[in-house]
Amino acid sequence: MNSFDIFVLPFAIGLYTLLIVFFAKVFDWIKHLPVGDRRKIGRGIRSRKLFGVVKEIFLESLIHRRIFKVNPLLGYMHMSLAFGWFLLIVLGAAESKIYGRDLLNTPWDPIFFKYFKHDTNEFHSAFFNFTMDFLLLFVLSGVFLAYLKRIYARLFGLKKTTKHIFFDRLAIISLWLIFPLRLLAESLTSGIYHNGGFLTDGLGSFLAGFMPVGHLEYTAWWLYSLSVGAFFVALPYSRYMHIPTEILLIAMRRFGIKTTTTFTNFSQIEVYSCPRCGICIDKCQMTSALGNEKPASVYFLNTIRAQKVKPGLSFDCMICGRCEQYCPVGISLMNHRLVQRNKLISNGYNFQFLKNGIPEKARIAYYAGCMTHLTPSIEKAMIKILEKAGTDFVFIDKDGGACCGRPMMLSGNFEGAEKLIEFNRNNILKSCADILVTSCAICYKVFKSNYDLPLKVLHHSEFILELVKSGKININKSGLRAVYHDPCELGRGSKVYEEPRELLSHALELVSTGYDRENALCCGGSLGNIMLGYEEKNKINAAVWKEMMVNDPEMLVTACPLCKKTFNKNAPVPVRDIAEIIADAVQISPVKPNHQLAPEQIAG
């Protein structure tokens, strides 16, 4: 079989360029990975984790399971393109192998197989012809949907699509052409030699009826080769780099590599794994409420990849985590934002004025947090509950204290945050408590994630629930219909979704909104966004209120003092903290106030 013609060159050049560029990059990435990360790869490859890697690559890179969860049609589109093409390559390789003369055939053999091999009359060729045509149709359906998505994004559950850079456009145009051109080329060939399946042969015969297929065939194969070649050349510089990179990412993640407070090559791999699908644009409230798409994570990652990070975009993000929650690649988007902030700011701090006091000792340490001090009703409710339940507690920051460090961290000043953490940690440990309770979702997040405390850390909603469950307090249920707003730091930040709901269900009727749990909206009061002015925050909050009110609740309950304060500004119904609800609903307790309970009795 003669399997060379000059038109294979664009394809071949493209493919080799791609392979050289990609592997050079991979080599560079791996080489400059932190030592610990490299060791993890070494260990991981030799472990059973590899099976997980393969499974996940199959599910995510080919099937696109996560996108299916966001929108089935969008998922199908991605699956048909990725999985369909993959199968075309696999089967095409198999087909060419069967007809091939050598053990190692050229890489273009399977691609231009039909051009070179006309007499496919064996038994298995019918199978291949049919299957390959079927797969081509499968892929083409995806391409058709991709066209459609550009015109009618809403069908795919998307309000906005990503605005692309030059290489993305080049790549997408060539990608859109590849499969129609393949169809055309194979059809024209089949029109001459009848070596195609139901699709290509059918179309070929049809075209042959009125076109000089013999003359057009050669040109079509040229165009096909050119389009594939162009796609491959553009790929490393376009979003499609995510296709090979994601495989690497999945493997590395499975081997236990994580993003840290510095920008490593693993972070770089995450950046390259972004497919710029644009799902994050819709999830971002900066887009939906303020009409400002620029800060969306997809564009932010673009600037990182292009090494053109600007302070504006870095700080114009609420760190609410909605984009990260829905990112099909699972990129640690919030971390990226903070790491870039860290690189941009001076990181100065001077906390010599913080002097450790000697707190009273108690079984339970209650830390209200800065924001709770601005909402004294929450503080009062908590004290009432703590006293009602007869607990032995100490109010660590009764007279105000140092900030928990989370806001500092959100500003990117990790070093300063570390100092605050160290200070507060010492204070907490000095109280010799077994349980640390806080009313602030922001403090809770940092206590859980960064304090590394050898004691149980509970958000007040979790703590009160335990009090209720253990019968230390009894609460009356009313018929009040309320919505529960998940604070970002408690919900997506700390994965506490059910405890507040369970606790509230003891006291009132919970009404759902379209934005519950993982999908909860940020109230707009975010400490993460440093660019937003007061009016913009208000605007975001007003938009959130609209969604909160869809089922006509009589009250909004939240579990974060900052959310409460933010919601209060535009409130059409009263806003209360979960602690206030319980404090009001608590029955006169049979427990004597002076009777002190062991923490295990209270908190299991």
Binding site: S346, M371, L374, L527, I530, M531
Partner: protein, 117 residues
């Protein structure tokens, strides 16, 4: 010339408005428009956790010093901010205080290194 007099020439406490470097204030006025709205009510300082733990830190006054170009005064204290954001919540005029502080910190670093703002 190097004789010890037992005293020197005292530095003037007066703010010399015309000589002071007010670039940073101009910069912040441009990029944080809400900064102009400060009415020096002091609510920020009253609620400030740092101000309540130190003798000198006063965010309201730092704002004033910024407007007057007293860069050294700001440099002395600005790193004490814990960034908790309470000041922003209590501000009656909606000044984005955290952004102001962030830019102040950056700006002072740049001025000290003779960089462009």
């Amino acid at each position: 010339m190097n004789q010890d007099w037992g005293y020197g020439i005292n530095k003037d406490r007066q703010i010399d408005f015309d000589r002071n470097d007010r670039r940073l204030a101009e910069y912040i006025r441009k990029y944080v428009p809400s900064y102009k709205l400060c009415i020096s009510c002091g609510a920020c300082t009253a609620t400030c956790s740092t101000a309540n733990l130190t003798d000198f830190y006063n965010i309201r006054r730092l704002n004033i010093f910024l407007m007057r170009g007293e860069i050294d005064e700001i440099a002395k204290h600005i790193d004490k901010c814990m960034f908790c954001g309470k000041c922003e919540l209590v501000c009656p005029r909606g000044v984005n205080t955290r952004q102001v502080i962030l830019i102040m910190k950056e700006g002072i670093k740049k001025i000290k290194q003779n960089e462009q703002l």
